[in-house]
Every structure is written in structure tokens, then in C-alpha cells.
Symmetry: C2
């Protein structure tokens, strides 16, 4: 069946911007990753430890994804030793207040452990 205009455009439900946001945030780890980078730049291993439970392969994917979305940057510090650090861009930093709000919400409304 062909979708009708009404199906496609629909109502208040289905906020396009929120949909875009959750294309990123709705993927496992991305929110925590950004939250973690909110307290300053960090390296790959540092993020891995901070978040805990994410596999290296997925972490690598996620960081690349967030780079491509323009929310973080990858900076290589030619050493030696060579070190890599990830940092929020302006766009990424702009999300931090919302993450803090979510954190506060979780403290109030989600059972601890």
C-alpha cells in the first residue's frame, strides 16, 4: 500500500529534530561518551575505562561516528609518544547542559542500581 500524505507528514508526534538527535543518542554508548567528554578531552583507553563495558571495536565505531557528526574532534599529538585525544566541538559542548538535566532526572526518577 502506498503511504498517504497524512501517513508521511503526521502531527505533533514525530518531531523531526528529536528523531535526528536520537539517531545518535539512541545508539548504545553515545550519550555516555559525550557526557564523559563533557568533563574534558580524553584518550581512547581513558574513555574505554570511564564508560566500562564497551568493546574496543564499538568504541572505535562510535568515536568515528561522533567525529563525522561534528560533535567531537580527534587530535593526534605527535610525540613521541604519539597520543590521541578526543574533545567536544562547539556543537558537542552545546549538548552537555541537556545531559546534565537528564542526569538530574535520573537521580530523581530512576531507581539506584
Amino acid at each position: 500500500m502506498a503511504p498517504t500524505r497524512h501517513d508521511l507528514e503526521s502531527c505533533a508526534r514525530g518531531d523531526a529534530a528529536l528523531t535526528r538527535a536520537f539517531t545518535l543518542l539512541g545508539k548504545r554508548w553515545n550519550g555516555l561518551l559525550l557526557g564523559s567528554l563533557g568533563s574534558g578531552p580524553a584518550g581512547f583507553r581513558e574513555l574505554s575505562r570511564a564508560i566500562g563495558g564497551v568493546s574496543d571495536s564499538v568504541l572505535s565505531d562510535r568515536l568515528a561516528e561522533l567525529c563525522k557528526a561534528g560533535l567531537i574532534t580527534r587530535r593526534v599529538d605527535e610525540g613521541p609518544p604519539v597520543t590521541v585525544s578526543y574533545e567536544l566541538t562547539e556543537g558537542g559542548r552545546a549538548l552537555i547542559p541537556a545531559l546534565h538535566q537528564i542526569s538530574r532526572w535520573a537521580e530523581e526518577h530512576l531507581p539506584a542500581t
Copy 2:
């Protein structure tokens, strides 16, 4: 260099509340689902259409999950015809402002389409 206690226990990185929040929000569809319910109660099919792309089986799972987390309630209206509607609880409603903030952020910082 040996890691210090401070390194291991850390700082702002690894916010427990944010981690709890993203156990829910970091799953595909949950954020959009809550956002959609933010504009009022809705039935299963209505949510399915509003969100678009979610399969029935996953939608069913997600709704059950959000019920168990206490963010939404499932109300059956014995008809006939029987209708089911999902609605935000107080805890769920408390998240809506954060979702609006995220939506506004996406409008500013995420490329449209």
C-alpha cells in the same frame, strides 16, 4: 605510570545517574517513544505510525520496558471495542523538558536530513 586511586575511581567521568538514564535512552526508539507520548496518551498503532520504522515486536518490548521502569502506564479501556492507551507517568513527564532541550539542540547543531 601507575594509576592512582584518583584515576581509577575518577571524577565526573562515569556519572552513575547518566549511565542509568542511558540504559533506557540509549536503546533505539525509547527516546522518541517518550517524546511522542509527551504530546499526550496514544495507542500502540498510533505510536507505531508516529515513530515510523520500529517493528511491532520491538515496540511491544520497549513499551513493556518503559512500563517496568515506571515511566509510562498501560491503560486498558474495556470497550467494546477494547482499546489500549499508553501515557507518561509523573516520572516520564519529568523527562520531557530535557527532550525538548535535546530537540532544540538538534535543530541548531545537527544537519537536517
